[in-house]
């Protein structure tokens, strides 16, 4: 399995430079927020290992909300975030990025504090890289080139199936499979199709993964006597907090909603960027840390096969602590309009959202960390919308394809390489083409 990695470069924008930064970022797009893959500043389309990437300005819209907790608010300076998901290692990707577009990167980051002409931009980016607390990948190890090869395969099979069915009918499904398999072999031989075999994990990687898989259950088992003892105390402390934590849920500005809309729905996939404060005090910070640790474990070991619990529309998602764990950034890439995404949140995974986000300032009230909260639809949508930020530049390496499309293409390839067992399974396979 190909190793995948992330990068998240975060730096404060220099005083008075925000306006010129935004117009530079806008020059990289075809439509508001939708990157031109060939843009001259950072030509995303030239990087074969890059899945998704975005630049956005991090603005703390809700930083004053902690006043409701009797705390004096701490302002958060305007920051520029540059993040992406890549095949291979971060260092390798960033080096290639700098090799090909150092000028553009310097042009962008010179709007940040501490960057000028002579700065070693690669080193500066590494210095400003923030490690995420949790990361979700729709299908772990599925590379950009695999996605592109499988999309090409699905397209030619679709046409070929129609041709062969109109010539010889559809009665003999096994014959159809054989015909398609031979057709693909010929295409491969003549260089029209490529289907690179996935890299097999080495023994070392397998052992590491097994160890990772069992480590957390073992740790929990080992600590279980202690956890059982602490549980009542934890619940007591939690319920006290849940009963007294104020909700801060003003209606989002209509103008802000309209402005956010400008950046949305140019592709079947949309980026979501949000930023908010963790409730003050050690308890919530600690709960968030544990929740994100468990989420990261689950995303790495359980959910990397197309589903994040019941949700199948998320390509990549990232949770990042900043400002000494006082604030959290959430960035994701999802299929469909934002209303559909929020519908999934409210109706399918409210409990999961609550586990993490109920530790945020102003969140709709929860019970026992998982009940309530996002189940309160109107309140939850306000909470989310108030923290959402426009994504000034967003790139996706496979525009027009949803996570379901990618999964379907993989299923088509799998059925081609390993003949489905029985007529019924064969018909299922054909129906995907």
């Amino acid at each position: 399995m190909t190793q995948q990695d992330t990068f998240f470069i975060l730096a404060p924008v220099a005083e008075g430079r925000a306006e010129s930064l935004v117009s530079l970022l806008e020059s990289m797009t075809l439509k508001p927020g939708f990157a031109d893959p060939e843009n001259t500043v950072v030509p995303f389309g030239k990087f074969d290992h890059l899945h998704v990437a975005r630049f956005f300005l991090v603005q703390a819209n809700t930083w004053r909300d902690v006043e409701a907790y009797g705390q004096s608010p701490r302002p958060y300076p305007l920051q520029l975030a540059f993040l992406g998901d890549v095949d291979g290692h971060r260092q390798v990707f960033l080096r290639e990025l700098v090799n090909r577009s150092a000028d553009g990167l310097v042009e962008i980051f010179s709007h940040c504090e501490g960057v000028h002409d002579g700065t070693d931009i690669l080193r500066w980016m590494e210095d400003h890289n923030v490690k995420e607390s949790a990361n979700y990948v729709n299908v772990r190890g599925r590379t950009v080139s695999q996605i592109r090869e499988e999309a090409a395969l699905a397209a030619v099979l679709h046409d070929e199936l129609a041709t062969v069915v109109s010539a010889q009918g559809s009665a003999d499904v096994f014959g159809l499979h054989q015909h398609l398999a031979e057709f693909v072999e010929r295409q491969k031989a003549s260089g029209l199709l490529h289907l690179t075999a996935p890299t097999k994990p080495s023994w070392r990687e397998r052992i590491a993964r097994w160890f990772d898989l069992i480590s957390v259950p073992l740790l929990i088992l080992f600590l279980s006597p202690l956890l059982v003892l602490l549980l009542p105390l934890f619940l007591l402390r939690l319920r006290l907090a849940e009963r007294s934590d104020p909700e801060v849920l003003p209606r989002p500005d209509d103008e802000r909603i309209v402005d956010l809309g400008r950046y949305e729905d140019h592709d079947v996939t949309n980026p979501f960027s949000a930023f908010g404060d963790v409730k003050p005090g050690w308890f919530r910070r600690w709960v968030t840390t544990v929740a994100l640790f468990l989420l990261n474990y689950a995303a790495r070991n359980i959910y990397g096969r197309g589903y994040l619990t019941r949700v199948q529309t998320i390509h990549f998602a990232r949770w990042v602590f900043v400002d000494d764990k006082r604030r959290v950034m959430f960035c994701s890439n999802y299929d469909g309009a934002l209303e559909s995404y929020m519908d999934d949140f409210v109706n399918k995974v409210a409990w999961g959202l609550n586990l993490v986000f109920s530790n945020g300032v102003g969140y709709p009230s929860t019970r026992f960390l998982i009940k309530g909260g996002a189940e309160q639809e109107a309140k939850f949508k306000r909470y989310l919308r108030n923290r959402q930020l426009p994504t000034q530049v967003w790139y996706k390496a496979y525009p027009g394809l949803t996570a379901r499309d990618l999964a379907r293409h993989s299923e088509i390839r799998k059925g081609l390489e390993k003949r489905p067992n029985g007529a019924r399974a064969m018909r299922n396979w054909l129906s995907k083409i």
């Binding site: 999934d344 009940k371 189940e375 379907r408 054909l430």
Partner: protein, 504 residues
């Protein structure tokens, strides 16, 4: 499992509600809608004051005529209900159906359906007057309602006469069969995880502002401050005695004129069927999901709460779309999904489903749990048909001759974004609905690429797995205009009327 928030089961005030919320006025087969601008707010107030607006109270006999009145956001402002005085109107209502490109993108109002191509736009008008009467009675009813005061108060911007209602839409299909049943008695209050299976009942707050909705919360409703002159007539806002509820017993009304190319539709089907009349009917039925007389292509009976016997099916009996195609119109408009995919047995089953581990048992791996739960996205439809009636199959033989006809689509909902816009976006216009690719609604689709993806195909799933693909569907339906309206309760209507008087 969930604690119920404290929403008192207050009795429904039918006498304060416009009748359209409760009734489709089916017996009143003649109707005309008039879009007006306010010329004189004071005169408009006078007219509204004595206008015989029909309430939702059930009478011994259905009325012989009805009048309903709805306002655009601009219209409310023209009546003196300024922003700042009222708060809490929904953003899409205030902004309008056509004013943001992003909204048009989501609704599929691009290409020939783009607002720039529309014949009319409710954003330029103020009031929608809806007149209904029994057969032969409309002219007299208009004379009675449209008094000289009316003429002094309003300028008629556009009038929409309708075809006598016989329950059939212009393509020739029986229409209006699937309607949600509003649970007025609140006999089945929703609780989270309580609707694993599809039910046809919806809570009143899905249609009426300020009542309990499917999320067990009061639907959002606009308010005015108690010190606004004339506001004493309004109901007190729940939980806040200082404010008055302007939205109580009101609803949002979505209006779109959808022109239907009937000859084009049947000519296309005839060509695709190579002139075979049986195959033509079969193909048209596959696109709609029903035969022309309204019989659904699915026959598996299920006992669905609030649904008549003839309409009590779900698609669980046809997950692979062999009987009713996955992209058929009725399957998109009302997917009949519950909160969880498939029936789940017991708490363990529920837990496994919630955690996302039940997918392996799916009959058709992959197409699992892709469609949202239907109960949060229902609409109460109140549309009427316009234009002269053609015999549909005759039209296909004559061909060519284009006649202006179609549907005046009207629906009511409490949350425009979650209900109307969601259905239009995620279910009707989306080429990726239910894991499909490259096809939008076979009847309503605009065929322009949607979010960069082609949307002009249609697939008929078949038992052999190969399926039949129809490429390059032309568009049969064109949006000619539309708008978002507020259909106030009767007290709110009087408040609006008096406010107009005081401002001038």
């Amino acid at each position: 499992m969930s604690r119920t928030p404290n929403i008192p089961n207050d009795p429904v005030e039918f006498d304060d509600m416009q009748a359209l919320v409760r009734f489709g006025h089916g017996a009143l087969s003649e109707a005309e809608f008039i879009l007006c601008s306010i010329r004189d707010p004071k005169a408009a107030g006078d007219w509204l004051d004595q206008a015989p607006v029909t309430s939702a109270e059930r009478l011994d006999a259905p009325p012989s005529a009805a009048l309903q009145v709805a306002f655009t956001a601009v219209g409310l402002r023209a009546m003196g209900v300024e922003e700042g005085m009222s708060t809490g109107f929904a953003q899409p209502f205030l902004s309008g159906m056509s004013s943001e490109d992003s909204r048009s993108r989501r609704l599929g109002d691009t290409g020939q359906n783009a607002p720039s191509e529309w014949d009319w736009d409710a954003g330029d008008a103020h009031v929608l007057i809806m007149l209904y009467a029994r057969k032969g009675g409309l002219a007299a009813w208009k004379d009675k309602v449209l008094t000289p005061t009316f003429d002094a108060a309003f300028t008629q911007a556009r009038s929409f006469p309708t075809r006598t209602n016989d329950g059939t839409e212009p393509f020739g299909f029986r229409d209006g069969i699937s309607e949600p049943k509003i649970d007025w008695q609140n006999a089945h209050p929703p609780s989270k995880h309580g609707r694993e299976d599809f039910s046809n009942l919806i809570s009143p707050g899905e249609v009426v502002l300020g009542l309990r909705n499917e999320y067990n919360a009061r639907s959002s409703s606009p308010k005015v401050d108690g010190d606004v002159p004339g506001s004493a007539i309004l109901a007190e806002a729940s939980g806040n005695a200082a404010r008055r509820d302007l939205g109580r017993n009101g609803s949002y009304l979505v209006f779109r004129q959808l022109a239907q190319d009937v000859p084009g539709f049947w000519a296309f089907i005839d060509k695709a069927a190579k002139g075979d009349p049986d195959r033509r009917d079969w193909l048209a039925a596959k696109m709609v999901g029903r035969t022309q007389d309204g019989t659904p292509l699915i026959h598996g009976r299920r006992d669905i709460e609030g649904s008549p016997r003839s309409n009590d099916f779900t698609y669980e009996d046809d997950v692979d779309g062999v009987r009713c195609p996955l992209g058929a119109h009725i399957r998109r408009a009302n997917p009949r999904t519950g909160d969880h995919p498939y029936q789940i047995e017991g708490r363990i089953g529920w837990l496994l489903s919630t955690l996302g581990f039940r997918r392996r048992r799916d009959k058709l791996p992959g197409r699992h749990d892709l469609v949202a739960s239907t109960r949060f996205h229902r609409l109460v439809r109140r549309g009427r048909v316009y234009g002269p009636k053609l015999k549909s199959k005759m039209a296909s033989q004559k061909g060519g001759q284009s006649v202006d006809q179609g549907l005046l689509f009207i629906c009511l909902c409490a949350d425009i974004v979650r209900q109307f816009e969601f259905v239009q976006n995620a279910w009707i216009a989306s080429p990726t609905f239910n894991g499909l690719t490259g096809e939008a609604d076979p009847l309503l689709g605009g065929r322009a690429p949607f979010c960069g993806v082609a949307s002009d195909g249609f697939t008929i799933q078949t038992a052999d797995g190969v399926g039949e693909h129809i490429a390059h569907l032309p568009s049969f339906v064109t949006v000619r205009g539309g708008g978002y309206f507020f259909l106030p309760g009767l007290r709110a209507l009087r408040f609006i009327a008096h406010h107009g008087k005081q401002e001038v």
